[in-house]
């Protein structure tokens, strides 16, 4: 490990020069000759019956090439994991983002004008906007064909005997916590270009995070259109932010496909910022009732959680976030008895999707807030309570997670030390400290039948390498991490590695950039392929140099004998000798890595990930009792990452995740009133700016994960998981009030202070 030349180094992101010079092409920048522009007409009401839909005037507008409605879509074609979402709606609309019609025209402006010429008459219907109302017996059904508004997804995890543990606990707390809708706010909005060739094969320019799964979705769609056995090629433009927003395929993409098919032209749809706010799928809001118990020494005895999630009108991956919430609920700290029951409920609100952390931040907010309440009741310092119960290597958790490397205790100690916890805690002077920990998947997550990633490596005649990986880069730096791993294994400078990661015609399959899995899974795939190509190089060079391949090594692009330093050849020269000869060959290698993790069984148990990421965040805040404003004085973010392949990019994930978490904790909220988004713009929905950056210290704790590439684990999501409860706990220490519903606004703090003083 000590001799690493590329891995473990602060290496700048390899696509940064393209981006910093404005040369990187995002989906907004893709232009194809003859391309048309698509625009979508959305419902004016969150719940209504469409009485009349007349597109005739729009069709006549010069420049309009096609107008489509539900009748142009294949009947019964539905998208979403429950197949409950027709890409164009007819009959009834169920949410304000329901797509009713779409236009393709020669310019975006003409398309927009055409939308205004489409005549729609609605009969407005009363809606249900509160999941608790929607759950009631006899509530109006959002989907008439369903028997209940509660999704048929019975999330239920039972470990041990919670009722018995309640009897035996020395201290018990119970409370309810809630979280809000927040949205990704990718700076680059959603978009695509759909393009058919003469054989009806589809090329989709996309910014998806799941090229292989999207390919599968679009093949299915083409089948539904009657285009059997067609090819679908996904080409990803440079992706202007992901954060989970692009883990599904969306109505607009199918609409672009339909318009392209109708017009026989490439059709581009780019969301406006307004659409990006109301027509993409946010993080789901939750209502969580949680109860915790411990014995007289502070050892946790049980955790009991009931949760309601507002699913919105249709079903995307948001509905499956309880599967990841189970992870902290069952396994954050040692807790022998666990019960978790979650219900996702249809409403006439916007439907939800994945967002960085995939449910973990919501669950961890409830768990870590509740733990502070328990510590207070038991008379134990909250950090001490976490030390007592901290996870350890070798543990098998109640949900059957096999904990391999685990630096949770080290992370807690970093917080203790760097926050000066002992000095700062419990001063009751308007300043306070708080902390929270996290567990997340760090070695893939077996959500699908495969959690794999493929890599192909091809050597050229000059000693340079092309690496074809299925793993997408959404800005996090997987391109660079993969290049580092390949460069390290082969023994060449990173400049000699070219990573191709954006085209399903040439890149192997990958399940997607989700679950903080890319460094681990794609990294292991790259490692496997690089080892194979290195073997081939040494084998061939052995013949050229007349040496045993076992005695050869490669450094800085030179192949040399470790026994006889005289014997060496530049890698490129060796490759050319291997190539340009009778019976010569080009060196290529492939590797498919699928981690040895498990799908959950019927009881939602099983070792979801090969390894688990840990961390602890500690915060010092100052709260102004007059204004309710919270100022973060110090923020410590300690993360167990296995091995830092690239500390520069890693710290970037911690800073970026941390600030997103601070936005989630202290300000961001999508305000929906009766199904309508009231603040769908950057003026009213404020994401943190440069002025909101607190003093933040990223702390990297290395634990050397045995199954990780060079010992690494995932870090993409963890940075924002414990932020909100750490801040809430610090505020409680500062002023003695606990805010239980996010975001923690000055108004809520003032109201809580007022209530406390009464």
């Amino acid at each position: 490990m000590d001799n690493l030349k590329v891995v473990g180094k602060k290496i700048p992101k390899i696509d940064a020069p393209l981006k910093a010079t404005g040369a990187a092409l995002y989906i907004q920048d893709v232009k194809i000759p003859g391309m048309l522009h698509g625009k979508i007409l959305y419902s004016q009401y969150p719940h209504a019956r469409i009485i009349k839909l007349d597109t005739s005037k729009a069709e006549k507008l010069p420049g309009v090439r096609a107008v489509v409605t539900a009748k142009d879509m294949p009947p019964n074609f539905r998208i979403g994991i429950m197949k409950d979402n027709p890409p164009l709606k007819s009959g009834k609309v169920l949410s304000i983002r329901d797509e009713i019609a779409a236009v393709a025209a020669t310019t975006p402006e003409i398309a927009e004008e055409a939308l205004s010429l489409i005549e729609v008459e609605y009969e407005e219907l009363p809606g249900i906007f509160d999941p608790l109302e929607a759950m009631k017996e006899g509530a109006m059904l959002i989907h008439e064909e369903a028997k209940s508004n509660i999704l048929k997804m019975p999330w239920r995890l039972i470990c041990g005997d919670v009722e018995k543990a309640k009897q035996e606990s020395a201290y018990i707390v119970e409370d309810t916590f809630s979280t809000q809708w927040v949205t990704h706010c990718c700076l680059g909005t959603s978009g695509c270009v759909a393009h058919f060739d003469m054989h009806n094969n589809l090329t989709m320019y996309s910014n998806t995070q799941i090229p292989s799964l999207a390919q599968n979705d679009f093949v299915e769609a083409l089948n539904a259109f009657g285009l059997k056995n067609r090819r679908v090629r996904i080409i990803q433009a440079v992706i202007g932010g992901g954060f989970g927003s692009k883990l599904d395929t969306y109505a607009y993409e199918y609409i672009a496909i339909l318009l392209a098919l109708k017009t026989r032209k490439p059709v581009k749809i780019i969301f406006t910022r307004e659409e990006e706010f109301f027509a993409t799928s946010p993080r789901q809001c939750t209502i969580t009732k949680i109860s915790h118990g411990c014995d007289k020494d502070g050892r946790l005895t049980f955790r009991d959680v009931e949760m309601v999630l507002d699913n919105g009108a249709y079903t995307s991956w948001g509905a499956t976030t309880p599967s990841v919430m189970m992870l902290p609920i069952s396994s954050l700290y040692k807790v022998p008895n666990v019960r978790y029951i979650a219900k996702c409920v249809y409403t006439n609100n916007t439907y939800c999707q994945a967002m960085r952390g995939y449910g973990n931040p919501q669950a961890t907010f409830a768990i870590e807030s509740s733990l502070d309440q328990l510590a207070e009741k038991a008379g134990i310092d909250p950090l001490e309570l976490r030390r007592i119960n901290a996870n350890e290597p070798g543990e098998i958790t109640p949900q059957r997670f096999k904990i391999t490397s685990c630096g949770m205790k080290e992370c807690i100690e970093e917080v203790y030390k760097r926050l000066n916890w002992k000095e700062k805690r419990g001063k009751d002077n308007g300043r306070g400290v708080g902390m929270a920990s996290l567990i997340h998947v760090g070695g893939g997550a077996r959500v699908y039948k495969s959690d794999g990633c493929g890599t192909i490596i091809k050597m050229d005649d000059f000693g340079k390498v092309d690496v074809f990986t299925g793993a997408s880069d959404i800005g996090q730096g997987s391109d660079t991490v993969i290049a580092q791993i390949v460069a390290e294994v082969i023994g060449i400078p990173i400049e000699d590695v070219n990573v191709i990661n954006n085209d399903t015609d040439i890149c192997p399959w990958d399940v997607g950039v989700h679950a903080s899995r890319t460094t681990f899974v794609a990294g292991n795939a790259a490692l496997g392929a690089a080892r194979k190509i290195r073997e081939q190089i040494l084998e061939a060079a052995g013949k050229i140099l007349d040496e045993d391949p076992a005695d050869l090594d490669i450094k800085d692009g030179m192949v040399f004998s470790t026994k006889n330093k005289e014997k060496s050849t530049p890698l490129g020269k060796a490759l050319r000798k291997i190539h340009y000869t009778l019976g010569g060959k080009m060196l290529m290698a492939e590797y498919f890595y699928d981690p040895a993790n498990e799908n959950f069984d019927k009881e939602f148990k099983g070792n979801l990930s090969v390894s688990y990421a840990y961390g602890a965040h500690g915060v010092e805040v100052e709260v102004d009792r007059e204004t309710g404003k919270v100022k973060i004085l110090n923020y410590v973010a300690a993360h167990d990452v296995g091995k830092a392949i690239n500390p520069l990019l890693l710290e970037g994930q911690i800073y970026g995740g941390g600030l997103q978490g601070i936005g989630y904790a202290l300000g961001e909220k999508m305000v929906y009133q009766n199904g309508r988004l009231m603040n769908g713009n950057f003026l009213d929905y404020k994401i943190p700016t440069a002025k909101d950056v607190p003093p933040i210290q990223p702390v990297i704790v290395e634990t050397d994960e045995k199954d990780g590439p060079f010992g690494a684990k995932g870090i993409g999501e963890p940075g924002l998981v414990p932020t909100a409860p750490a801040i809430a706990n610090a505020i409680y220490d500062a002023i003695g009030v606990r805010i239980k519903d996010l975001p923690i606004t000055p108004e809520k703090i003032l109201a809580a202070l007022k209530a406390k003083d009464k």
Binding site: K10, P12, K13, D15, A16, P17, L18, K19, A20, T21, G22, A23, A24, L25, Y26, Q28, D29, H184, C185, C186, L187, G188, T189, V238, I239, G240, G241, G242, F243, T272, R273, I474, G475, Q476, G477, L648, L649, E651, G652, Y655, G656, G657, G658, L659, Q660, N681, F682, L683, I687, P688, T689, A690, K691, V693, I696
Partner: protein, 154 residues
């Protein structure tokens, strides 16, 4: 009715016919194919479209195109000289200030306008200068570091 305007764009006199309804951003991206300048919101709130006009950082998405007449305009494409990147571009790359990169061109233009105006900006100056440039990936820390390093290195 189209109208002809002349201005200096990235050090070159440029004359072009424009529709008075256009924004400067539209002209840059859709007509002149200078797609390095990004549109993140279209209403002057995210800063992705920032260009420098007569020394000031401006949101080109709300800048009426006719007002470009006679101005001196620099876009991200105008920063590199003789194939050498501007020190700010190099610093952004080396300090890890670039993730998804969509905000990067606008961010760099705001930073340039600041450094052209102030020799030794404070942290507060830097934060003030890029407050209107939203970034969702980096948490701004490395962006601020990058700008500071350029200021310190002059």
């Amino acid at each position: 009715m189209k109208k002809e305007i002349t201005f200096n764009l990235n050090n070159e006199e440029t004359t072009v016919e424009v529709d008075p309804k256009w924004t400067l951003l539209y002209l840059l991206r859709e007509v002149l194919n200078l797609t390095g300048t990004k549109e993140g919101c279209g209403y002057g709130e995210c800063g992705a479209c920032t260009v420098i006009i007569d020394g000031k950082a401006v949101n080109s998405c709300i800048f009426p195109v006719l007002e470009a007449e006679g101005k001196n305009i620099i876009t991200i494409e105008g920063l590199a000289k003789d194939g050498q990147m501007h020190p700010l571009q190099k610093a952004f790359i080396e300090k890890g200030a670039v993730q998804c990169g969509f905000c990067t061109p606008g961010m760099i233009m705001s930073a340039k306008a600041l450094l052209d105006e102030k020799k030794n900006p404070t942290d507060e100056d830097i934060k003030e200068a890029i407050e209107g440039n939203l970034c969702r990936c980096t948490g701004y820390v490395m962006i601020i570091d990058a700008i500071k390093s350029v200021a310190a290195g002059r």
